[in-house]
């Protein structure tokens, strides 16, 4: 087990290196720099040279990459092109909000999806099952920003119940968390239902029942315990979904988090910020997947980790 964890942790290093290499190459393949695009205030060549030297973008690209990677190891992500501040500071400012939003969405998703999935499975082919599957299909199919638009229209504009711009009070958090959690939760509902359906048909459940255990003990203690293992593995991809979802939701609701920062940086061609956030996102997703894989091995002794 320990060897497996170490091997997986070591594998993160080359993957991160390639992620950095690809993003860096793409960013530098793009023509021009953010400084020579201002048509209203044309800069002299001298000024441009000085700025390029200040940010270190006058050097050959391979050398820049080596410098960047060296700084990265020391936790320095460089300076933002558009806001004269270190990228680490800018990310640090938004990351708390994004975590708050993501965590809230994840808790909401788990809170409704697991009970709903279990009930659907236990009452298979009833109205309850059909309606929860319909909700799950809608939640997985209709894009989050479209659902957000409908919600803003109903609760924000027409009923005037919830604010839909900004962040801070709990009223601000309701809609973004709901929308972000809905997609992940809908997916989890489907998985929980399928997994539970399989579990209640297993021999050990029949044994438990024939021993004369109470129905509740059979479902919760025997079926559910095993049914939740595949569900746990989906939380990794679901986290990745929450991260990419946060770009859209934060932009839509004007939440000052990392996702919105990312989109703003992309529109402004602020490459140091783009690089920094991309690396952080890739790292978070790899860690989420690793955690889930380890958890899988712990939860299910039948799985032999290599």
């Amino acid at each position: 087990m320990l060897r497996y964890v170490i091997r997986r942790l070591l594998l993160i290093i080359p993957t991160m290196f390639f992620v950095a290499l690809i993003t860096f190459s793409l960013a530098h393949a793009a023509p021009g720099s953010p400084f020579d695009r201002n048509a209203n205030r044309p800069m002299s060549q001298e000024t441009i040279d000085r700025i390029n030297r200040y940010y270190g973008v006058d050097k050959p690209i391979p050398e820049q990459f080596v410098t960047y990677m060296g700084n990265l190891l020391r936790g320095d992500l460089g300076l933002s092109f558009t806001r004269q501040r270190p990228v680490v500071d800018i990310i640090g400012q938004g990351i708390g909000t994004t975590f708050q939003l993501g965590l809230g969405a994840l808790v909401f998703a788990l809170a409704f999806s697991i009970p709903l999935g279990i009930i659907s499975a236990l009452k298979q082919n009833t109205l309850v099952d059909y309606s929860s599957m319909l909700v799950a299909t809608i939640g997985t199919t209709i894009p989050s920003f479209v659902i957000a638009i409908f919600l803003i229209y109903i609760f924000g504009v027409n009923l005037n119940l919830l604010p839909f711009v900004g962040w801070g009070s709990w009223q601000h958090m309701v809609m973004p968390m709901f929308v972000l959690g809905l997609g992940a939760g809908a997916f989890l509902t489907r998985i929980t239902r399928a997994s539970m359906l399989e579990a209640i048909r297993q021999d050990y459940v029949r044994t438990a029942r024939s021993k004369g255990l109470r129905e509740r003990t059979v479902i919760v203690g025997h079926a559910l315990k095993n049914a939740l293992i595949p569900v746990a593995t989906i939380i990794g991809p679901a986290t990745a979904g929450l991260i990419t979802g946060s770009f859209i939701i934060e932009t839509l609701f004007n939440v000052p988090g990392m996702g919105r920062l990312y989109i703003i940086s992309i529109l402004a061609r602020d490459y140091p910020v783009i690089m920094g956030t991309t690396l952080l996102y890739a790292f978070l997703i790899m860690m989420a997947n690793l955690t889930v894989d380890i958890l899988y091995g712990v939860l299910d002794p039948r799985i032999k980790v290599r």
Binding site: L11, T15, M16, F18, V19, I22, T23, L26, A27, A29, A30, P31, G32, T137, I138, T140, T141, I142, P143, F145, V146, I149, F150, I152, Y153, V157, A194, L197, E198, A240, G241, I243, T244, F247, I248, T251, I263, I266, L267, R269, I274, T278, Y281, A282, I285, M286
Partner: protein, 323 residues
């Protein structure tokens, strides 16, 4: 159609106590199961309707000219800004105009015409990148699965790296960094979206094909004879999961385009797409929601239709998978 032959067949079946059924091929059987599925059938009809609208919004080929779109989607009409759809008249709206069935947007452009032209972009986005993805994924996956060795190793390393990126993040980086280059600006940003979707998604198809090839490679029917193995034996066996993947890849590509355009890094305005319409309409959302609500509904309906068809196809092609 009760001909003498089928009647006889039924009689014989009755004697043998089995249900008589017209003979169908494997694919015919799957198609029958698909259209028996009501949700999938509705999905197919919706998709056909959307495709016809896209094609005949402005059709001019071989002297045949059909123009369903009432207006030029880019034509602005200053005095007729933000007209509401005609049905709102029954709810007391004073800002309707019978000339604009679905109303007009903040620049006085006809929403109906823009929706129709948008479905064209969606159709193209659904077909072109997915074809590219399929072509690359199939050839690389088959090669890796069948040849194995170094080709396989290299592929698996590449997939590991691409998998570490969330799909959307990767597409955003590609599309965003290529903006301003000739590639990025070609066809108002359409071409670079093709590239982005293809680069990110071929890996998934290649992985799927590789796995399928590996799983059928050692079965008896493949061992039977060398030569043309790939085409005549392996390919038909891996076709079903690939069809299902494609059925979900098409709406996936459409969704990617609409997200990118909504975020302002996809197709450039004024070219109408549903994502662009939402992006542009959001400025006036509190005043008039229709320029945003209508394209949102179009996206929802089309994506749901594709999901129904995809689910139906999965059930139809692999009856065992149905619980």
């Amino acid at each position: 159609m009760a001909t003498a032959a089928t009647a006889q067949q039924q009689q014989r079946a009755g004697e043998m106590n089995v249900i008589a059924r017209k003979q169908r091929s494997l694919w015919g059987d799957a198609f029958y199961r698909l259209i028996r599925n009501r949700a999938a059938l509705v999905g197919l009809i919706v998709i056909a309707f959307a495709a016809l609208t896209a094609i005949f919004a402005d059709f001019d080929l071989l002297g045949i000219r059909i123009k369903l779109a009432p207006y030029d989607p880019l034509a602005q009409n200053g005095p007729k800004q933000l007209m509401e759809p005609i049905w709102t008249k029954f709810f007391g709206s004073k800002f309707t105009d019978p000339a604009y069935i679905f109303g007009s947007d903040e620049l006085g452009r006809d929403i109906l015409s823009r929706l129709m032209y948008s479905s064209r972009v969606s159709l193209i986005i659904g077909l072109v990148p997915v074809s590219i993805v399929l072509a690359i994924g199939l050839s690389v996956g088959m090669l890796a699965g069948y040849v194995g060795g170094v080709v396989d190793d290299v592929l698996m390393r590449i997939t590991d790296v691409v998998y570490a990126f969330p799909d959307l993040l990767f597409v955003i980086i590609i599309v965003a960094t290529l903006r301003g280059t000739p590639l990025g600006d070609a066809y108002n940003g359409l071409l670079v979206i093709f590239v982005g979707i293809a680069v990110v998604n071929w890996v998934g198809v290649a992985r799927l094909v590789r796995g399928q090839v590996l799983s059928v490679k050692h079965r008896e029917f493949v061992e039977a004879g060398p030569g043309r193995i790939m085409r005549t034996h392996i390919f038909p066996n891996i076709l079903a999961p690939i069809i299902v993947t494609v059925a979900f890849a098409i709406p996936g590509a459409m969704l990617t385009e609409s997200i990118l355009s909504y975020l302002g890094i996809g197709i450039r305005p004024p070219t109408p797409t549903w994502g662009v319409m939402i992006n542009e309409g959001f400025i006036v959302f509190s005043t008039s929601a229709w320029p945003v609500l209508l394209p949102s509904m179009c996206i929802s309906i089309v994506l749901l239709a594709f999901t129904f068809v995809g689910d139906g196809l999965r059930d139809a092609l692999d009856p065992r998978s149905k619980m």
